[in-house]
């Protein structure tokens, strides 16, 4: 079973195949992002305001539109068809978001159907610039790029900016914070603890 250990050439082949697989995965992801951009244009402008008014229950300042979880919203035969995608599989906010969307539409007297889809999978890249600002203002550090994220979470590098005082002198306390999507940090200058929204790609 561990014969692979003693045969470096086999390993090399394997790493090449892993590297190839990684490349193809990246390609799939970038295709997914493009698809998302296309989908975004499918949001009926008349419905944008209503969807904008629905916020993430765990981050009230952040609209679900800025969060990037609304994949499409269109009127079909007088019914608004809204498609959303979860941030994390087990995110308890998704059920609430679905309910809140229904409530927001029913207040405007528009019948609505909400559907949850898993593909393409959500990424933190879909958080809009306005969303990132809202996060920072709320006291949550916005996600870094994938490489920097890895270094901040594993390599002890000071890359995450304190959302309170702006200092870069911060330290990770825990890879998982108040929710699965966040890590827990502390600022070494102002001493305030804060959440960092982890990069998800």
């Amino acid at each position: 079973m561990q014969s692979g250990l003693r045969h470096p050439t086999k390993n090399e082949q394997k790493y090449q195949s892993i590297a190839k697989r990684l490349q193809s995965r990246r390609r799939v992801q970038s295709e997914a992002c493009q698809k998302m951009t296309e989908t975004k244009t499918h949001i009926d402008p008349k419905l944008t305001a209503i969807l904008q008014s629905v916020s993430d229950p765990e981050i009230p300042v952040l609209s679900i539109m800025d969060m990037g979880v609304v994949r499409s919203a269109e009127m079909q035969d007088g019914i608004a068809q809204v498609i959303i995608t979860p941030t994390y599989s087990g995110c308890p906010a998704m059920d609430v978001i679905g309910d809140d969307i229904k409530k927001a539409f029913s207040e405007k007297g528009i019948p609505v159907q909400v559907e949850l889809v898993l593909s393409p999978a959500w990424t933190t890249d879909w958080i809009t610039p306005a969303g990132r600002q809202a996060l920072e203002k709320y006291g949550i550090a916005a996600p870094l790029e994938a490489e920097a994220d890895k270094e901040a979470l594993l390599g002890d590098k000071k890359l995450v900016k304190c959302p309170q005082c702006g200092s870069m002198n911060t330290k990770m306390i825990s890879q998982f914070g108040s929710t699965a999507c966040k890590a827990f940090f502390q600022c070494q200058d102002c001493k305030e603890p804060f959440d960092y929204f982890k990069c998800l790609k």
């Binding site: 079973m1 593909s119 393409p120 999978a121 699965a180």
Partner: protein, 249 residues
């Protein structure tokens, strides 16, 4: 029984039972940070389980729902591997179990995302992002405990040695597995074995933990033959649905 449904159970039962084990640590973790981390991982696993079971219930039809699949099967009908049902003997065991499973889980999902079944591929693609964090967390702790104090080293070494006998079962194939692999729907776990042991051994060596070389391996879970721990776990997990059928929050 439908091979596809059985194949889905084979993947999802691992996530459910491991999620349940991790959930036991809610409020009981050795420190606040590890408590939160392990229960967050549990939450990810439950989320993934729900996606799989919702799909399986749809395929089964009739009165099946994600809840009946999760809560109303008997012990022999769960086909999770023995590894994930092993108890939280101490923190070292919880971390060792997590690490030995995460490394496999990521390899499996990387294959499953190429499935010709669109739903399974979508669930795999979604889950990979989460499981990558799980593996990062558990690998980090393996290194910390292995390369930590003499006591932490001794405990994690013991946990790895004890749980190692359950690793080979991860690469066993059931009839449903074989049927689904042949159809291009399932991931061939037999092809993941070398990569798994290479990766796991590398991290263990880095953590100064000796890679076990046991004389035998344990198996049975994938055929529904579980260890003595499973009954207690299910009694706890199924209690509410058994005592109050169809109850909901």
């Amino acid at each position: 029984m439908n091979h596809l449904v059985q194949y889905i159970y084979g993947i999802a039962d691992n996530a459910l039972i491991l999620g349940q084990r991790l959930g036991e640590l809610c409020g009981h973790g050795p420190s606040l940070e590890t408590d939160i981390a392990l229960t967050n991982i549990s939450l990810d696993l439950f989320g993934q389980t729900r996606s799989y079971y919702q799909y399986a219930a749809k395929l089964k039809g009739g009165d099946a729902t994600e809840d009946t699949v999760a809560f109303l099967r008997s012990e022999r009908e769960y086909i999770n591997v023995l590894l994930v049902e092993q108890p939280n003997t101490n923190f070292a065991y919880s971390i060792a179990r997590q690490f030995l499973f995460d490394a496999f889980h990521l390899l499996l999902l990387e294959e499953l995302q190429n499935s010709n079944d669109k739903t399974l591929a979508a669930i795999a693609k979604k889950s990979i992002k989460e499981v990558r964090y799980h593996l990062r967390f558990s690998s980090d702790w393996i290194k910390r405990l292995g390369d930590g104090t003499p006591e932490s080293h001794q405990k994690i070494q013991e946990a790895i040695a004890d749980l190692w006998v359950y690793t080979n079962e991860l690469f066993e194939q059931t009839d449903a597995d074989k049927a689904m692999v042949a159809q291009g729907t399932g991931a061939d776990v037999t092809l993941l074995r070398d990569a798994y042991y290479t990766q796991v051994s590398q991290i263990l060596e880095e953590a100064t933990i000796a890679v076990p070389n046991p004389e035998y391996f344990q198996k049975g879970g994938k055929q529904g033959i579980h260890s003595e721990h499973m009954g207690y776990l299910l009694a706890d997990m199924q209690y509410m649905q058994r005592a109050y059928p169809n109850m909901s929050w």
